[in-house]
């Protein structure tokens, strides 16, 4: 088992342990915020999720641009796995965001710019994942996926801007992390983001390898079928 194979598992394990440590920090070390009370601690879970979700979609954007410049199967695979994990993390961001909103402001959903952006990103990238359903040839489907990957990411900042123009009652602390947070809070926040990062990287690599072997198997099966067709024709 070369390092390359076990690296993803190692990363996921390290990520898991760091996350566990992060939990301990959240409950034992982080001071409770004066105004909002203990509920503010969801922030340490919410922030890493939304940060890495956005980073996944940024990676999908980069891979899509690279694919259009010089098509390569691996680029499409990375884009697919990042999009998948991005959608997963966005879903969790929405769940934790709503839980926070429910407790802090008594309402499940607030048209706050960040949550609205996450929701719309969730819809766009789920449609991106459904592109597999189109009955196109493999090359065309990858080309289409790359184009959607670019268009989708270009939309994200616009969604955020329009949502802010629309209405905003999200706490100011969100806007400037560094400003409203005490040093200990910042430390815990950074630690959680780092921990989630390990776990995220592990997940992406595991998913990438799985997609790779899946493609290889499908190629083998299709060449097998072609060979059988040829043998029947002769």
């Amino acid at each position: 088992m070369s390092l390359k194979q076990i690296l993803p598992a190692l990363l996921a394990l390290a990520g898991g342990l760091l996350l566990a440590a992060g939990w301990w920090l959240i409950f034992m070390y982080a001071p409770t915020e004066a105004i909002m009370g203990a509920i503010q601690k969801i922030f340490y879970i919410h922030l890493p999720l939304s940060w890495w979700a956005l980073f996944s979609f940024f990676l999908v954007f980069l891979c899509s641009v690279a694919y259009l410049v010089r098509p390569g199967e691996h680029l499409d695979r990375i884009a697919r796995s990042c999009a998948e994990i991005g959608v997963l993390l966005t879903t969790l961001t929405l769940v934790t965001g709503m839980l926070w909103g429910r407790k802090a402001w008594g309402v499940w959903w607030t048209w706050d710019p960040r949550l609205t952006t996450a929701l719309i990103m969730w819809f766009i990238y789920t449609a991106y994942l459904l592109l597999g359903g189109l009955n196109l040839s493999e090359q065309r489907r990858r080309m289409v996926r790359a184009v959607v990957g670019i268009v989708a990411f270009a939309d994200v900042p616009l969604v955020f801007l329009s949502a802010r123009l629309w209405r905003s009652i999200h706490p100011a602390v969100f806007a400037n992390e560094s400003g409203g947070l005490e040093p200990e809070m910042k430390l815990v926040a950074l630690f959680s983001v780092l921990a989630m990062g390990f776990f995220w990287l592990g997940l992406v690599l595991v998913r990438c390898q799985q997609l790779k072997s899946q493609d290889r198997i499908e190629d083998l099966l299709s060449t097998e079928q072609n060979r059988e067709e040829q043998t029947e024709q002769l």
């Binding site: 259009l68 719309i120 819809f123 766009i124 449609a127 991106y128 459904l130 592109l131 359903g133 189109l134 009955n135 196109l136 040839s137 090359q139 065309r140 080309m143 289409v144 790359a146 184009v147 959607v148 670019i150 268009v151 989708a152 270009a154 939309d155 616009l158 969604v159 801007l161 329009s162 949502a163 123009l165 629309w166 209405r167």
Partner: protein, 224 residues
């Protein structure tokens, strides 16, 4: 220059007006308007923002149907191959389709607007020139993304559902802008003053027009 684009737009418009395609999307829009008017208690008037939202929702449905129809024209007898063989650049095809789509959506909206006034009992405030400018900007955005993503499905069977699944969320920012400005047109005291929305929509259109012009040749190809 743009000879192919203009010829394509003229041909598409004559085909759309000749067939039942446009009528179908207009009827769907009017149906939406009527259905929403049922949601009002009799006598009470719908809020300006509600009316604006319904207007733009109908336009969005109309856009999906229109662009599916426009790209289906090229698939019936394989005309797409011949268009791609033309010496003109591929973006001319994008511009032709977007122009035809823009005109068709505008035609439909000319019918939607009075229907909203009648069924939802709205009055038009004096800020209607702002509304007209917004209508132009929003329709440009609708046409631009419709042409790019319409080409995506390139006449595949699973086209309607996927196209709207992608186009609706992508157009969300533009819709928010259009709904806010049209709410003001219908007399609501808009929170945000409309000029910032107009600027935002212009930026939205510019960004996606540039992206579409760059990416169209990847989307609309001869590969079948």
């Amino acid at each position: 220059m743009l000879k192919l684009a203009l010829a394509l737009a003229r041909k598409d418009l004559s085909l759309a007006l000749r067939g039942a395609g446009l009528v179908q999307s207009i009827l769907l829009g009017l149906l939406l308007v009527f259905m929403f008017s049922l949601s009002q208690k009799t006598g009470s008037l719908a809020s300006g923002q509600m009316a604006a939202a319904i207007f733009w929702l109908s336009s969005l449905f109309c856009q999906t149907l229109v662009f599916n129809m426009l790209f289906a024209f090229e698939e019936t007898q394989g005309a797409r191959t011949c268009l791609l063989l033309s010496p003109a650049p591929v973006t001319d095809i994008f511009l032709g389709k977007a122009l035809a789509g823009f005109v068709l959506i505008f035609l439909a909206q000319i019918l939607f607007f009075p229907a909203i006034i009648v069924f939802l009992g709205q009055t038009v405030s004096q800020s209607w020139p702002m509304g007209l400018l917004m209508l132009f900007l929003a329709d440009t955005g609708l046409a631009c993304l419709g042409a790019l993503l319409g080409a995506l499905s390139q006449g595949q069977t699973a086209r309607e559902s996927l196209l709207s699944l992608l186009v609706f969320p992508l157009l969300a920012p533009l819709l928010l802008a259009a709904i806010s400005v049209f709410a003001a047109v219908f007399g609501e005291q808009a929170g945000e003053d409309p000029t910032s929305w107009i600027g935002f929509s212009a930026a939205f259109d510019a960004i996606f027009l540039a992206i579409a012009l760059m990416l169209f040749r990847f989307v609309y190809t001869g590969e079948d």
